[in-house]
Each structure stands twice: as C-alpha cells, then as structure tokens.
C-alpha cells in the first residue's frame, strides 16, 4: 500500500505545492511591489492604482478554492492544454495563492523602518534601489515567513485538487480513507501530511533565523 498509494501521493503533493508556491511567489511579488510603491505614503503614491489592485486582490482572495478551480478551467486548458491532472491543478493553486502572497509580501515590506527608506533617499538612492537593495533586503525574514505560510496553505489547498484528478495526499485521504472506509490509509495520509507540514515549517523557521540579524 505504501509504495503503490502513499509514495506517489506524497510525490504529487510535493510537486503541486512546491511548484505552485514558487510560481505564486513570482506572480505575487509584482503586485506587492506595485502596492508598496503606489501606497499613500509610498515612493510613488497613486491612489487609483492602489485601489484597483486592492479590489482585484480582495476579489481573488474571496473565492472558495474549489470554485476558483472550476472557474479557471478554461484558463488552465489554455496554459496546460488540459484542465484535469496534477499539472493542471497547479494553475488554480498558483492563482489562488498569488494574491495571498502579494498581501503578505506587501505587509512584510510595510514593516520596513520608514527611517531606513528616508535615509536611503537622503543619499540619493533611486526608487528601484530603495525597493530592491533596501526594502526587500530588510524585509527578507518576513518574506521567508510569508513563503513558509503560503507553502503550508497550498499543501492544504492541494487536497482539493483531487476533484480535478490532481491526486496527492488529500485525494488519497478522501478516496481511500473516506469513501472506502479504509481508516488505516486515512491515518497514514494524515500522518504524512503532519510530517510534511512540520518539515516545511521547521525549514522555514530555520531559514528565517539565518536571515534575521
């Protein structure tokens, strides 16, 4: 059972959540920086841009994941070529996680001491340099925490990927454990998930510690 069911499921979960988180970080960074720039006391205040991004992010975040997945079928098909399967599940996972990550990175960047930003301005740093050489460097521990948090949330979301044939641990738990009353499989998958989440959290904490001075 372990080799046939559990091991591939762990592989699928890791594949979906790691890829989706990675892509979500890339995708979420851009709006996060635009939010920080256009904020009222940002480097280039722009109320209109801020408001529209704000609305888009809030809208995306209000969708229940399972619904988002269904709505995104056409988009997924366009990108991957099909709308079911493990790889296909990565699309909604990414789009579900990106606004979450954008918000969290925004708040991590907002935590950066305003005085440091002002000091950077005072010695003639450009906005680009202030964002990339000062703010992101200072906010790195916060951003690491953000990524850890997102990764674990995505592991949770990926359980629902079973609905589109995505596979993964969550899918196994529902299929075998719930529908077929195989309690032992249920317990194993949950244990595997616990270990996975523990591992990600410890790794995240470890990296946080290294980066935090």
């Amino acid at each position: 059972m372990f080799e046939k069911i559990l091991l591939p499921a762990i592989g699928e979960t890791l594949y979906m959540s790691l890829t989706a988180t990675f892509l979500a970080v890339l995708l979420g960074f851009i709006p996060a920086i635009m939010l920080i720039l256009s904020d009222e006391d940002g480097l280039k205040p722009n109320a209109k841009l801020y408001r529209s991004l704000d609305v888009v992010i809030n809208t995306l975040r209000s969708f229940p994941f399972i619904i988002l997945m269904i709505i995104l079928f056409p988009v997924t098909k366009m990108i991957i070529g099909k709308s079911i399967g493990t790889t296909a599940a990565i699309v909604p996972l990414t789009i579900g996680a990106a606004p979450f990550i954008a918000r969290l990175i925004e708040s991590a960047l907002k935590e950066v001491d305003k005085g440091v930003v002002e000091a950077a301005k005072s010695f003639g740093a450009s906005n680009f340099q202030i964002i990339f050489k000062v703010m992101i460097v200072e906010a790195l521990p916060g951003i690491i925490s953000t990524i850890t948090l997102t990764l674990i949330t995505v592991v949770g979301f990926s359980a629902m990927a079973g609905a589109v044939g995505g596979g993964g641990l969550g899918d196994v738990a529902i299929k075998y454990g719930y529908y077929r009353f195989q309690t032992d499989v249920m317990i194993y998958t949950v244990m595997a998930l616990i270990v996975l989440v523990q591992f990600f959290q410890s790794l995240g904490d470890y990296i946080y510690k290294i980066t935090k001075k």
Binding site: D113, G115, V116, E118, A119, A120, K121, S122, F123, G124, A125, S126, Q129, K133, V134, V137, E138, L140, P141, T211, K212, K213
Partner: protein
C-alpha cells in the same frame, strides 16, 4: 551656501512654515531650534528635497531645490549627508556594509569603497565593530555608524535631525564632540535640528528659533541667550522671581567680561549695599555668559546706573 527666502509650506491646508528666511554660510554649525511641531524638521527636509515647499526660494549651492529634476535631485543629495533621531540603519547589514551602502549604490570601485569605509570607521572610532550588526551596538555607536554613512559621499553639508534626542547626556556630549570634529577637520557645514537647548549651546554658532512655523528669533547663540527678549524667555521656559520693592537691575555678562568681578567692585566703589536676587551662568560653546539681577534701594539708582554706563555694562531694569 544655503539661502532661504520667504519660504512657506503647507501640509494640506495647515501652514507649517511661514515666511522663513535664513542664510547659512560655509563652515557654520547652524541650529534650527523649536519645540515639537514647530516645523524645524520639515524645514530641514526641505534643504535636501525630502519635503517640497510651495512658495519662496531655497537655494543650496545656488541651486533652487524645488526646480531640480529627479535625477538632478539624486545627484545633489550626494552633497548633503543626513543623520536621524533613530539612526535608520539597515538591521540586516553589518556596520561595514551599512557604511558602504551609499557608495555601492553609486557604483564606486570596490577598493575605493573599502578605503573610504575604513577611514570613516577610524574617524568615528568604531574600527573594531566593523563586522557587528546594529542590534549589537549601543545607541551612541549606532549614531556613529550613521554619521560615517552620511559622510561616505564626501558631502559639503551634514543635516542632523534630532540626532542626539534618543541618547543619554554623556553619549550626546560625545556625539556632539564628533560633529564638532567633523565640522573643523573636514570643513563640513552642519545644520542641526534639536529641541534640546544644551545641544544648541554647546555646539552651534548661530541659530533660528521656530515656533508654530514662524521664526521668533535668530542670530548668534551668545546674543540669543545673553539678552533674551520676552518671546525668547517664554520659549526657554525661564521665569525669575524678583522682589517688588526697590529697583531691580539686570546685568548681562557677555563673554568678554563674564569673569570680571564687576559686582563686588561696584559695591566697594560706590560704598552701597544691595541684594543679589537672581543669577545664572551658562557655558555656550567655549565661552561663559551670564546674567544677574540685583536689587538696589531707590536712592542709589542714579549712582548705580552712572557706574554701569561708565563701565560699559549691558544692563536693563528688570
């Protein structure tokens, strides 16, 4: 070097600076003094363009700051270093990296950066701390790092925004010593913003006093503190209690004659008695200035005033 004329500034509808004019010369240590909310930090930030201003002119090196374009402003800021109340250092960079940052951003050569950083670490006395992180330093040490960082691009002006307000008195004194050294050794013009009178007295040569965005006093420190007018007295929060009978005469002791024993000499010469009812001596920069109120009987008034005029004393009835 810095010329401000009829400058007004609004935050929304609120006027925070009203008709400010001042001139700061090369090599000055100039203080902008006021209570919190007086507009002094805002005025300081106008000098390096961190704040803009509406009406009036502000020229530094003959350049009108508000007319500078974005890149010109960045270039201009190389010439104006700044230090802050809460040090504003990057927590995730070492002392060395913090000081090197401005030069790195301006793409200086690595060797040149290293040389300059080492030189500045020496100047601020932190050579042994170069690999420490700000969280491992005391407040005074952090401010020294910030000072070193502000000097990396060889500025001609250093702006100090309440740089000693978060420090204890001894540390404050040592930071002021350092600023004085920088002023004398490197010939850098220093503009300090502070609400601490002791800071002004110990370091500045000239000052303006700001209240609610208005200049209520300006000039050389000695003059400002020696013969404070009503506004200034209120500003300093000084109040003296003097007798209501007889005549009170306030004597001012400017720096030249502060040490002279004019009071006892007068008593002996005129052979009169009087009470000393109030007095104060203060150290300003390296000079001592002071004032004294004596209470004399009415019949002696003529003799005393005559004597004081003869000795060229500065006095007034209190």
């Amino acid at each position: 070097m810095i010329i401000v004329k009829n400058l007004d500034k609004y935050f929304g509808k609120e006027k925070v600076l009203n008709n400010i004019s001042l001139e700061i010369n090369k090599g000055d240590i100039f203080a902008l003094v006021g209570h919190s909310g007086a507009g002094k930090s805002t005025l300081l930030r106008c000098i390096n363009g961190l704040e803009n201003y509406g009406i009036g002119t502000l020229k530094v090196f003959d350049k009108e700051i508000k007319e500078l374009k974005k890149d010109e402003l960045r270039e201009f800021r190389k010439n104006v270093g700044m230090i802050f109340q809460h040090f504003s250092l990057m927590q995730r960079k070492t002392v060395y990296e913090n000081i090197a940052l401005p030069m790195q951003l301006w793409k200086y050569d690595k060797k040149e950066i290293d040389k300059k950083v080492m030189e500045l670490l020496e100047l601020v006395g932190l050579s042994n701390k170069k690999d420490s992180y700000p969280s491992q330093l005391s407040g005074g040490q952090k401010q020294r790092v910030a000072i070193a960082r502000a000097l990396t691009l060889d500025p001609k002006i250093l702006l100090s925004d309440e740089a000693t307000s978060a420090l204890d008195p001894n540390t404050t004194a040592s930071i002021l010593e350092l600023l004085k050294k920088i002023n004398e050794k490197l010939g850098i013009t220093i503009v300090i913003v502070t609400h601490e009178m002791d800071v002004v007295k110990s370091i500045a040569q000239k000052a303006i006093l700001l209240e609610h965005g208005n200049i209520i006093g300006s000039g050389y420190i000695e003059d400002l503190f020696l013969q404070p007018d009503e506004k200034m007295k209120k500003f300093l929060g000084e109040e003296e209690v003097v007798p209501e009978t007889g005549i009170n005469i306030r004597l001012h002791f400017p720096k030249e004659i502060a040490q002279y024993s004019i009071v006892t000499h007068m008593a002996r010469t005129l052979n009169i008695d009087f009470n000393i009812v109030w007095g104060k001596l203060e150290k300003i920069n390296t000079h001592v200035i002071g004032s004294l109120v004596i209470n004399i009987e009415e019949k002696d008034e003529e003799n005393v005033t005559e004597y004081l005029n003869e000795k060229n004393m500065r006095w007034e009835k209190a």
